[in-house]
Symmetry: C2
Subunit: 552 residues, 2 copies
């Protein structure tokens, strides 16, 4: 391409330039644009893939139902597939609505004619049978073709409860899926049909965490994937929601031919914006597989993408509206730091503090270093105020400085109680862990914009809130190891679990959310935030290591 004068200022090249990943959808058309190839193409695009399509049937439909279906001649279905595959290097294929036996057979034969048996790219088969509104999208006579010919070519099939029950009815006596155990049984039976893996979707079965544990007790070889749950020690994120243990969950079961079984657990979302959920999920998996993501990770990411699409859907139409395929979610940043976050929140320092057994010298050392750290922290909010472009942020930064000044009052009082004078406190030699953490935050503020600085400040704010909540929760369980009565550190626990501190946490979260909403981060920026978050969590953990070792 000639270097064009525009290039300099107007055009930011796509990072995917020159290396686009191609995906093919063989499915129906949805006039309202939320399901079928429309959902697939939108989903491929949202994953940075280039989408192609072969139409099997057209539907005239809207959010209230299906008003009509027009079948494409099967030879024309073959023609479309051939046009795409003759020309392009497709990295994954997704099949959706195949309508009838003749079409299904044509799709199978065409794919077989285009690829050698081992040369077929990852194939995700969504056995679409009935629309959400109850319209038949697959004639019964096609089921046998799917099972005997298409499934054996498939990397993954993605039936929901009704589709799985229908498929199973062709294999033996009626089997109704009512529980997680039933799901495992059903998936095991379905895999015998010959596909490499089954993802049995659990959207129509409500479960609780106790059900997941019960199933795992019965079948210890089943892995539980909770990456799409807020996670342990993330109670802080459950603001306004019921307790984590009593949350309604959706569990999807992935059963692989090598015997690996995984339950994907996620919170249930109540929404009417579910038109095309199945199409979206299967095409998101296909896009992930096209990009080389391993199957389990592909499912995990696709579920996250689909759920975010439901959560951020705009309400359109009079019935079940479509998802938002173009939300700004590219990745989540906290889950990646899960292990280090747990090491931090459940640190031995915290446990001993909860038991009341923490060495007094360690606690005093901690408070003195925290006093020094809070000077950096207050300065960082000063820097945030200096970097602000709105009075709102100037005010909230300033308010936080005032809160810190209140907090150091507590530190002084603690120290006085433990025999450390104000002068000794002020002249405490600074530990390297304190300098590392404090200076890191200020350096982050110097380097980046206000959001990056906020991200560094949040790990600290949220972490202490989480520790407070975790100890309070442990204390509330029967025969708890946490002792509040007579615990010399009870005041500290009360402070961080208390409403004033938790309210500050909520404001912090809302600030970050609104920043990200006003200026949606690129992939590079999100990855940068993740690094900042992980780094701060590690520095927090290092701070408690230092306290336990009375480190310099």
């Amino acid at each position: 391409m000639a270097r064009d004068p525009w290039m300099h200022v107007n055009v930011v090249e796509s990072p995917s330039r020159g290396r686009s990943t191609l995906v093919l959808s063989i499915a129906g058309s949805d006039s309202v644009g939320g399901a079928g190839i429309q959902a697939d193409l939108k989903t491929f695009a949202a994953h940075g893939c280039y989408g192609t399509s072969a139409l099997t049937a057209l539907t005239a439909q809207n959010t209230m139902g299906v008003q009509g279906i027009h079948r494409c001649p099967s030879e024309f279905v073959a023609k479309q597939i051939n046009s795409v595959l003759d020309d392009l290097d497709v990295r994954a294929i997704k099949t959706g609505m195949l309508y009838d036996a003749e079409t299904a057979k044509t799709v199978v034969d065409t794919l077989k004619s285009c690829f050698s048996p081992s040369g077929i790219p990852p194939l995700v088969c969504d056995p679409v049978c009935v629309s959400t509104s109850g319209h038949t999208l697959l004639h019964e006579d096609a089921l046998e073709i799917l099972m005997s010919e298409l499934f054996p070519l498939s990397t993954l099939i993605t039936p929901n409860k009704a589709e799985a029950e229908l498929l199973l009815s062709k294999m033996g006596p009626e089997f109704l899926i009512g529980s997680l155990d039933d799901m495992l049984t059903a998936a095991e039976r379905l895999i015998s049909v010959g596909c490499k893996a089954v993802l049995l979707k659990g959207g129509h079965i409500t479960a609780r965490m106790e059900d997941v544990f019960a199933t795992q007790t019965k079948s210890p070889d089943v892995k539980v994937n909770k990456q799409n749950l807020p996670g342990e020690n993330m109670e802080i994120l459950l603001v306004g929601s019921p307790n984590y243990d009593t949350l309604d969950l959706v569990v999807d079961v992935l059963y692989q031919r090598d015997g690996q079984k995984t339950m994907f657990v996620r919170p249930r979302i109540e929404s009417s914006s579910t038109h095309g959920t199945g199409c979206t999920l299967s095409s998101a998996i296909a896009a992930q597989l096209a990009k080389g993501t391993p199957l389990e990770a592909a499912v995990e990411k696709a579920v996250l993408y689909t759920n975010a699409g439901i959560q951020t859907a705009f309400l359109i139409g009079k019935g079940h509206g479509p998802l938002n395929h173009f939300h700004n979610l590219r990745d989540s940043f906290i889950p990646r730091t899960r292990e280090i976050w747990k090491e931090y929140v459940e640190h031995d320092f915290v446990r001993q503090l909860g038991k009341g057994t923490l060495d007094r010298a360690c606690f005093v050392h901690f408070v003195r270093q925290d006093y020094l750290y809070l000077k950096y922290y207050a300065r960082a909010y000063g820097l945030l105020a200096a970097k602000s472009t709105s009075f709102v942020l100037i005010e909230s930064s300033t308010q936080t400085i005032l809160n810190v000044l209140h907090e150091i009052g507590n530190h002084k009082a603690f120290c006085a109680k433990f025999g450390v004078t104000a002068d000794e406190l002020e002249n405490t030699p600074e530990s390297a862990a304190t300098t590392a953490y404090g200076a890191y935050i200020l350096d982050t503020g110097l380097q980046g914009d206000t959001t990056k600085l906020l991200m560094a400040l949040m790990a600290c704010l949220l972490g202490y809130g989480e520790v407070g909540l975790w100890l309070k929760k442990q204390a509330a369980s029967p025969n708890s190891w946490v002792v509040l009565d007579g615990n010399p550190y009870q005041h500290w626990i009360d402070d961080y679990a208390g409403e004033i501190y938790q309210a500050a946490v909520r404001i912090g979260l809302e600030t970050i959310e609104s920043c990200a909403e006003a200026d949606p981060p690129s992939e590079a920026r999100l990855s940068d935030w993740t690094k900042v978050w992980a780094r701060c969590t590690r520095l927090e953990k290092g701070f408690w290591d230092m306290a336990m070792q009375l480190g310099e």
Copy 2:
């Protein structure tokens, strides 16, 4: 929607939430995904609109050509349109391939049955007749329906040369379009068919700037829109390209029923990635109209979007590949600052400098203030180095500081020549305009990230380069008002027009480009950059005002 625990960390809500703009495409399907409803849906999505579709015909095609067409029954076309319009509040409609007379008639009748004559939303009719590869996409008998029934409903029709010639052949004797003048004539005739406006696309006619001027001389009522050209005083952006005046251009002609005529001028791009260009342009215009953009601005933005799609296309397929619909271009920032940029570059200070008539006292005042400004400027690069996370940026920032130190050597030499001692220079009282500009750059660096700071620094770097080039170019034209020989300021002009300075400009542009590529800006961020750029340009102009007035 229930507040979900995920919301806090994982999901960044789309800014379009709750207020999505709906667009309907009535067109064919392209299996390879670069034209037809596939291009339309991708384009709508890229504009933040929600896309719906009614299929008129399916094509089996790839980048090498069309292998087959399957016509949808016209009653099913009507059904799809009704499904969408019965349920959704569509804000614009685009029609593409309508295939034959019966389909075209059905589309017209269905639209008329859904809307009152005055209630139809903006309708963009792309009279698709023949594919790039020469396949007939519209039967000849449909032309009359288009002209007599669909065009009168249309806000805009978007024929290319071949389509316009075909349409004109139905209205009278053959008329071949070979020049800009012919385009104006053809557009004038086409508008008589009854649409509100004609956009006659000029992709098949090559023009030069002199042709545009010649046409404008003949028809002074024709407006020339050059927003998509680098523009006057933007020679600095033409790095590696031929001279601006000898650039091959594409001119699109917009003819509105009220008599307004506009020629949209843009550089021609040589590319094989042009599959679906027409579909993309017309759906981009529809998306803009749906969002309420006035027609001329809608065309201007859609042309920019489409061209960027060609420029950033990845090469797929063996023939004419598709555009990249999801480049990161959301808006361009320099065109918006066009007027202030011109005031700055063509400032009276610059003109007098070129003539050699600039008052010596003004120039000395300028150099002394610039000396003080350069201290801020060098410090800003020091801050950039401090904010850097890579040695590459640390090195380039440092190198720039060294260049500035070299530049102040010139300032000292100038001053000495004009009788100002080193001591006097160093103790020059600082003008407010100098403080404003210098401190603004440092403040921008404190507030934002490295890219924002770079943006502030670029206006200065590019501006002086542009002034140098502009004066050199003026000097080269016959009977120029610029006098280089014996001009007391020739050294200054030579410095900024010279290769060393221009090389620095190129490096600056490349740095900005690579930053934006690595971390594509959101709309909010791009708008922020525009503000910084405009502000700096204004401060630069203020600097020269100050110099002319010997201001304090």
